[in-house]
Symmetry: C2
Subunit: 649 residues, 2 copies
């Protein structure tokens, strides 16, 4: 049992583990990249004193009182985290500050608990082949973002990406269920995603109507076997999705690989950080340029160009595509895109809550680049000579800067992958320093995290309501932080208190590999539907009396209801070879009184929450008696809640 309650920054054992780790993996990391010298040189110039010096020494200002952030039994968390899950394909919901997993929302994966990928309704959302099998059974979610009204979350939708099979999924926030998936044509490595916050033309539409998608990998266009060996002809596309219809509105051809996306509060700009502006196909080429870019799209101009017919299509796709390459957009006054040069291989772009600054981090440079929204508008108005003139600061903040979060008080928090730290820096200080004021230091605090952080994100930090209370550091390696579980480690998520001058580490929680980005949403913002409305399910079996079996040739339709502890039919009798569709409506009304429907040896299982209807279709390919049982605990006589599936020869 754990008995030590005080953070000891100078815990020698912990430090030993940490440094030992940094002495192995980090060395491999650097050597593998052939960059050891360059980065070491940067480290020497790091400000203020490098590494963990600022946090060592048993600093009382970092102390967390015993139980200070404990969520007592029966008490609720104060925030939700909505998180990607990586190549597990789902989206996860955590409570903060407890770190408890509240839900796993199946999206691109099959979930036999819910019946996701098994029921007809979920298969329709996921997409099927002509033979009815699922088109895809894998996915790779990296980012989750919510819909906005007036610059903050409206609790309507979440969207997430699939980097593996290039789909965008939408989740209904009220039910926390996926309700739409769209396959994006002609892209590969769809990674970044962000909703807009206002209409770019009609400012009275002050809510999300579009979602923007960045795709990393350039490919032949169309990718039908042409240009296999001519990477110079390949390119990538930036994509705009309609938030309501989930249809693809338009795409833009660009130079370089696109990573993350951010959008302005006025709805006029979408930004995406770019690595490999060289369009290299192999590692050495991807790293050759000293500068990559933060690419801005002038959304109104893009849509005007399409309206004016200045678009083309690719292959079988009907989606209009505009040309957003540098060459086609040389004149700022008519340009659809603005490529702002930033240090090489940036890995994130985030907007400050006041809407004034986009921060694009360096990854292979120890800097963060601060780009003023106002100056990007000026560039598009032809009032600046050079896109680089939109940069108002570029502080040195540490090694391997990736992603930046904000506290709403003027401070930025950037994850430093190589330094294994979160660095807190003041944006106005950085601007003053960039303007020549040598008396200010942008960096105001550093906190060691364990180990090698990827994304970091703050409470309400992607909205105008950033409240500066919590920051989460999603770390890529957990190493010695948890009990060992064999070769595959769990990930570490570290919760940090940012409400004071100095960051304080609250706790480590775990996440099944591997979440990437997430958002932290105040609990009161989220409005959920706890019991369904039977009328929302068009195929509902509305009364027990409607229970029946209908045969049409070899097709058998079974209409069934459930109410604890009974299914409405004691047996379902069909013939070998029949195509059977079972539609089940749960007539229980009590919240949480969910039933499961499993058929022995028939590989069928799904649940029906109260008042819900779901259906499955399958072939009766084995003769005999197969028990149907309730798989989701419902009642004292749950074990006895059964029916029989009888297949006659």
């Amino acid at each position: 049992m754990e008995t030590q309650h005080q953070e000891t920054d100078n815990n020698p054992l912990q430090d030993k583990g940490r440094r030992k780790f940094l002495g192995t993996t980090a060395a491999v990391t650097l050597a593998g990249a052939g960059m050891a010298m360059g980065l070491t040189a940067c480290k020497q110039g790091d400000q203020p004193s490098a590494g963990s010096a600022t946090v060592a020494g048993g600093d009382a200002s970092r102390a967390v009182a015993a139980g200070e952030f404990e969520v007592h039994p029966g008490k609720l968390d104060s925030y939700y985290i909505f998180s990607s899950s990586g190549h597990n394909g789902e989206v996860r919901v955590y409570g903060l500050p407890s770190g408890r997993t509240l839900k796993q929302i199946p999206v691109f994966n099959i979930d036999p608990m819910v019946g996701w990928g098994i029921t007809n309704e979920s298969k329709k959302i996921m997409g099927t082949n002509p033979d009815g099998s699922l088109r895809y059974t894998t996915g790779d979610t990296h980012h989750v973002h919510g819909s906005y009204t007036d610059g903050t979350y409206n609790s309507k939708y979440l969207w997430t990406n699939d980097k593996l099979n290039n789909r965008i999924a939408r989740i209904r926030m009220d039910r926390m269920e996926c309700d739409a998936i769209t396959e994006i044509p002609n892209v590969q490595g769809f990674h970044g995603i962000f909703p807009d916050k206002r209409d770019p033309v009609d400012a009275s539409i002050n809510y999300t109507t579009r979602v923007f998608c960045g795709a990393e990998f350039h490919s032949p266009q169309a990718n039908d076997g042409r240009d296999l060996d001519d990477p110079a002809k390949w390119y990538g596309l930036f994509t705009c999705i309609d938030a309501e219809s989930m249809e693809v509105r338009w795409q833009a051809k660009v130079d370089g690989n696109m990573d993350l996306v951010a959008t302005s509060y006025d709805g006029k700009l979408a930004a995406v950080n770019q690595y490999n502006v060289e369009n290299g196909a192999v590692l050495a080429d991807m790293m050759s340029a000293e500068r990559d870019a933060c690419l801005f799209f002038n959304i109104a101009r893009v849509e005007a160009a399409i309206k004016a017919g200045r678009s083309f299509t690719i292959g079988d796709s009907k989606v209009p595509v505009v040309d957003g390459t540098r060459q086609a957009n040389a004149d700022p006054k008519t340009a659809l895109t603005c490529y702002v040069p930033v240090p090489k291989n940036p890995h994130g772009v985030n907007l400050s809550p006041d809407g004034k600054y986009f921060v694009c981090s360096g990854k292979l440079s120890p800097t963060a680049t601060v780009i003023a929204t106002e100056l990007v508008h000026k560039w598009f108005a032809g009032e600046l000579n050079d896109a680089r003139d939109t940069v108002v600061a570029e502080p040195e903040i540490g090694l391997g800067p990736l992603h930046t979060a904000f506290d709403g008080r003027g401070n930025a928090y950037t994850s430093l992958f190589l330094d294994s730290q979160i660095v807190k820096w003041n944006v106005e200080n950085a601007i003053a320093q960039f303007n020549g004021d040598k008396s200010v230091q942008p960096v105001v605090d550093r906190l060691d995290v364990h180990y090698q952080p990827g994304h970091t994100y703050s409470s309400m930090g992607e909205t105008k309501e950033a409240d500066g209370k919590f920051l989460n550091s999603g770390n890529k390696f957990s190493k010695d932080r948890f009990l060992p579980v064999g070769p595959l480690h769990v990930e570490t998520e570290q919760l940090i208190d940012i409400s004071n001058d100095r960051m304080r580490l609250i706790h480590d929680h775990t996440a099944y590999p591997e979440p990437h980005d997430a958002i932290i949403v105040r609990a009161d913002v989220v409005k959920t539907q706890q019991v369904s409305n039977m009328d929302d399910f068009p195929n509902a079996v509305k009364s027990f009396g409607d229970s029946r079996i209908e045969r049409n040739g070899k097709k058998v339709a079974v209409y069934l209801t459930s109410q604890a502890p009974n299914f409405s039919m004691e047996q379902i009798r069909v013939k070998l070879g029949d195509e059977v569709t079972i539609t089940l409506t749960n007539h229980d009304r009590v919240e949480d009184l969910t039933h499961g429907f499993g058929i022995e040896n028939y590989n069928i299982n799904f649940i029906v929450n109260p008042q819900e209807t779901h259906s499955v279709t399958f072939k009766a390919d084995k003769p005999g008696v197969f028990w149907i049982y309730c798989t989701h605990f419902c009642h004292a006589l749950h074990l006895e809640m059964r029916s029989r599936f009888i297949v006659e020869k």
Copy 2:
């Protein structure tokens, strides 16, 4: 943020929520079962004072100090929980006391993160159809138990059941990965599972060699279309699996539905609680008998009978089956089985850590039945008149008793589903009371849990090393305990301190629906392998130089290696229609330096931990260039770790 730190047993709001709930769902529960009156009557006789009376009143002995059980950042948990996950099909690993999820072990489900159900190696374990597709993609795990040496865990294997498709899976404890799955013939509703602890014949074999499986549902034998409407001819089978080969050793025909399994420390007995001894096919019939049974198997006699040829086979199965029905085992001296009558519809059987008592709970009776191991042996020796004479106590403990755990100090802890409590009772007191001593009360403490507990289990409680520190209550309804997440609620697991006279609620943690049983294992017992040995993978690509593409007609074999941040081939070139097998060995040696292998739009993803090899086989059915990328974060240049899959027309 949570600021209240003291447990307040008499919190009126909490109590209101609780009682309101019990006034709705519980009422539905009882009314649905048509048992309200009977159970209410029992409740009036409950001892000591009923309901929450014993816990109300702001009891200081229940107080948990702020942070008392907090696991500080960087500190490790002291116990593992290995838990079933229900119809999600996986097995989960939690840390205690933190409640953090340390691992999700895919077993019967598809996990696109690991590549479980995608790699050839995992498909071989899961089982495939002739066309190479998975035979099953769903499963329903209820119980997890570990292998024993000398009466305690030896950290070698875990086993879990699949109630849906009737399979048993084994997990290697060192790697925490599933390594074998066996389909059990001629059973349905395979629910209970328990390893033996010693050989029944050769006492020098003091470790697990067999695993026993109880199956709930009786069915036609063989289930090939015969006897569809003649339930009187149906029966269920108890199954013995070889712990090492994972082959089915034998089965036993029994009366009634089998639920959970327990085994004696001497290896001679396996017990299974039975409901529906009536062999009813519908609810009313299943509940008609006043008494069901706790069924004991004399393992040595069963195996001697098989050796002597007193067995038969069913359908295509070659497994020897003995007759364990009542009728065939009327003479105790030769009986293979002993049916001990217990109150109706019991839902659990557990052995005390001293090996002396099996406790079989009543579910529909407010009692727990205590059966003495020694007396069961005496019954089999012909020294008792009646199987019921093996019962040494039957205390009234509360409404809806399900499962019992032990503290190694003579106390039992039983989950009360209807009362939503854990009741602590003293076994020797119960025996004294049963023997007529009216001065003792078996029940010594009660603790409200939230809500409606299913399984409860204690630290090391299923071993001779039961240490009486922690108890977990796995609750079936969470209701108002966590932030709402739509219609589907998360489950509540409540951790309870049992080291003192009075139980203390430590915290609620969450679990994705829906875990059933689990074991709590001391952290020092578990020995894991953290980095694999390349030689353990027979298809390893042992050096970069071995990277190559071999063609044999339309079959293309690709041998690939990974080392951060590179795959060993910049491209893999095949022809449209080829059957491609890619074998990938990860040459990184640093612990946790896992790579993922994903192919864009080809629905392929899997991981390779350090020094591991995995392979996939698929058809190249789309022409074009498809980027391969590392899906599992590995390195600063992870994003740039790519290759290309090129499919020529």
